[in-house]
């Protein structure tokens, strides 16, 4: 650990940006329809002028804040602000109906903070060891890892075939521009702006933020939401003690689920809820406004944040859409995620780890402040918000390269993202394929050069073989399951 960068994370400027990011994330997460991915995508270009540690810690703050913020509308409106908080509505909303909205929000804040801190500690302990193992990887392993990363994301799409299709389309798009080995430009169609490939940040702003604006525009606006009244927000020591096991279990489940690429906050929250209910002495109380239900889901979904950073930082493989966008943040600061990050930039890694801890601490403090103003946050007019988001999208896309062509890229990917959302093609698969495409291509070709075109190189090395087998199994298992179901239904 680099001690000086840990101290640097406590500088006033660093604390200010982390607090700003976390606060912004909470507001964004609280508003239904605005996701953590959108928040991080919007902010990535804004961190361009900052020191890498400040910028990345701010993005982490947004991530942590938005995942937590989702519980505010889940509890007060029965509408989860982010998909991560869908399970929180089960007990959070009934609590609000009983006049215990403040209590539910309070325990959600404490649980989220505890889950986030636990996963950050596990990340700090685990990541350097995993990075050391990953340093032994060669070209065949990296190719297999890229394929593994993509298939895991694809298997979680609601339609696996469409997920695979959009994944390969993303890989094809990633071949536009300079070839990673020879530098020869391909598929630019005479457009000079494509010589360096499709600009990644404008593309992901389009995919996640503009597409979301388009989707929001399609729905009827409902500006004034009826919310429950919020009173006595601080949980008592007895309540925390009662929820301790649920929080502990949720933190472990969330971290493990986060580490597995392609899973995510939603799955962690449901798993933790089911597991807590299963092991409870009073399972019948779950779903009726039981405080342990809220603690189980909220600790798990925030624990995913730290866990999801493990594959990203150690292997360079984003586990979900937020970490894929976070990877964009690393790229614009000239940092290549993966095991070399720990060797080449230990200061950034240490600073980021400290930033994650600080973001979670800020989340607890700002969370309690946000609860006080939760009804006002939920009343922010949607029209004004959408207008501001579009301006920030345009600003963010332009700011990185000062190139108006990037605005057109953003718009094109906005349309692609909108159709993806509407017709069941996974945006995350497209985004991750665009990231993994160059890694897969370069390592596939290098491995084939080294082995004189012998493809058995991918099957004779144990790590590469393991990744390929897991990829195949994770792809074929759900497909055969669906086929079996279809046959059984006749």
């Amino acid at each position: 650990m680099d001690i000086s960068s840990i101290f640097a994370a406590f500088s006033p400027a660093s604390l200010a940006v982390i607090a700003l990011g976390t606060g912004g994330g909470i507001i964004l997460g609280a508003l239904p329809g605005l996701t953590a991915t959108m928040g991080v995508a919007l902010l990535v270009p804004m961190t361009f002028g900052m020191a890498p540690v400040h910028g990345l810690s701010m993005l982490m703050g947004i991530y942590v804040g938005a995942i937590y913020g989702g519980c505010i509308s889940a509890i007060l409106l029965k509408t989860p602000g982010t998909p991560a908080s869908a399970a929180t509505t089960l007990d959070g909303y009934p609590m609000a109906q009983k006049g215990l909205a403040g209590k539910a929000l309070g325990i959600a804040t404490v649980s989220s903070g505890a889950g986030g801190l636990a996963s950050a500690i596990i990340l700090i302990i685990l990541a350097p060891y995993l990075a050391k193992v990953a340093l032994m990887f060669g070209a065949p392993e990296y190719f297999a890892l890229a394929i593994f990363g993509l298939t895991i994301i694809v298997t979680l799409s609601s339609n696996i075939l469409k997920g695979l299709l959009i994944g390969f389309f993303g890989m094809l798009l990633s071949t536009i521009g300079a070839d990673p080995i020879s530098g020869y430009t391909r598929f630019t169609f005479g457009i000079a702006n494509l010589a360096q490939g499709i600009s990644f940040i404008p593309a992901l702003i389009g995919l996640f933020a503009i597409a979301e604006v388009f989707t929001q525009l399609e729905r009827a606006f409902k500006d004034k939401e009826e919310t429950a009244k919020v009173k006595s927000i601080f949980p008592t020591l007895a309540e925390i003690k009662q929820c301790f096991r649920a929080i502990w279990r949720g933190s472990i489940i969330g971290t493990i689920v986060g580490i597995i690429p392609g899973t995510g906050t939603n799955i962690a929250a449901w798993l933790s809820y089911n597991e807590t209910r299963r092991s409870s002495k009073t399972p019948e109380k779950f779903g009726t406004g039981y405080i342990e239900g809220v603690a189980a889901t909220e600790s798990a979904n925030n624990a995913v944040c730290g866990g999801a950073m493990v594959p990203l930082l150690t292997l360079g493989i984003p586990g979900d859409s937020v970490t894929a966008v976070f990877l964009g943040g690393l790229i614009i600061h000239g940092l290549a995620p993966g095991p070399r990050l720990f060797v080449d930039h230990p200061d950034v890694v240490s600073g980021l780890f400290t930033g994650i801890i600080l973001a979670n601490l800020f989340m607890i403090v700002l969370g309690f402040v946000a609860i006080r103003f939760s009804t006002q946050i939920l009343r922010i007019p949607r029209k004004m918000l959408l207008c501001a988001i579009v301006i920030f999208c345009a600003l963010g896309s332009y700011a990185i390269n000062q190139n108006p062509f990037d605005l057109l890229t953003m718009l094109a990917f906005g349309i692609i993202g909108y159709f993806c959302q509407k017709y069941d093609y996974s945006q995350s698969a497209l985004c991750i394929a665009m990231i993994l495409g160059p890694i897969a291509e370069e390592n596939l070709r290098l491995a084939l050069y080294d082995s004189d075109m012998d493809i058995s190189i991918f099957f004779t090395r144990p790590i590469s073989l393991a990744f390929i087998v897991i990829s195949l199994v994770s792809l074929l298992l759900p497909l055969t399951k669906r086929l079996k179901n279809r046959i059984l239904r006749g």
């Binding site: 094809l172 399609e218 959408l386 207008c387 332009y398 057109l408 093609y425």
Partner: protein
């Protein structure tokens, strides 16, 4: 309708794939002895997968057509028109903002976007964009030092 659009999307994937495939053969090989591992290999591999998967998706779309349209909550009738309008406004903004300047362009864009979103209050229509752009100016230009185009039109009138 959804089925037809799904088939159109699949057709678009195949068309794009074929286009890339035809161009990929014009790319030079890295090494005269290793044509198979050349610049065009990976794009061609992706195209083959795209065409294969598109065919399966199209077949399942035709064979199992019972898939109902996604039930998005409260779809508004004017929704599609709003999307088209925002798209064209963004397109115009992207094309002309370097010429008009970021701030005048963004003001006009915000003003019309608010009207399009159904904002009825004239004070909000006129002054919300001013407040928003003031925030952008202070945070992004003054604090973060991001350069935004002043615009040829602004230069012409004010310089």
């Amino acid at each position: 309708m959804a089925k037809r659009i799904n088939l159109l999307i699949v057709a678009a994937f195949i068309a794009i794939g074929c286009f890339f495939w035809s161009i990929s053969w014009q790319l030079p090989p890295d090494d005269p002895g290793m044509e198979e591992v050349g610049i065009g290999m990976f794009p061609r591999f992706c195209v083959y997968c795209i065409i294969g998967l598109s065919s399966i998706v199209a077949f399942s779309e035709l064979a199992f057509s019972a898939q109902p349209e996604k039930s998005a909550a409260k779809i508004d009738r004017g929704g599609k028109a709003r999307i088209a309008l925002l798209f064209f406004m963004l397109l115009l903004f992207a094309i002309f903002f370097e010429w008009i300047g970021f701030f005048p362009g963004a003001y006009i864009f915000c003003f019309f976007t608010l009207i399009m979103l159904g904002e009825k209050n004239w004070w909000v229509r006129l002054f919300y964009p001013v407040g928003l752009l003031l925030f952008v100016y202070v945070v992004f230009i003054k604090i973060m030092g991001i350069t935004l185009p002043a615009g040829e039109l602004t230069d012409y009138f004010f310089m």
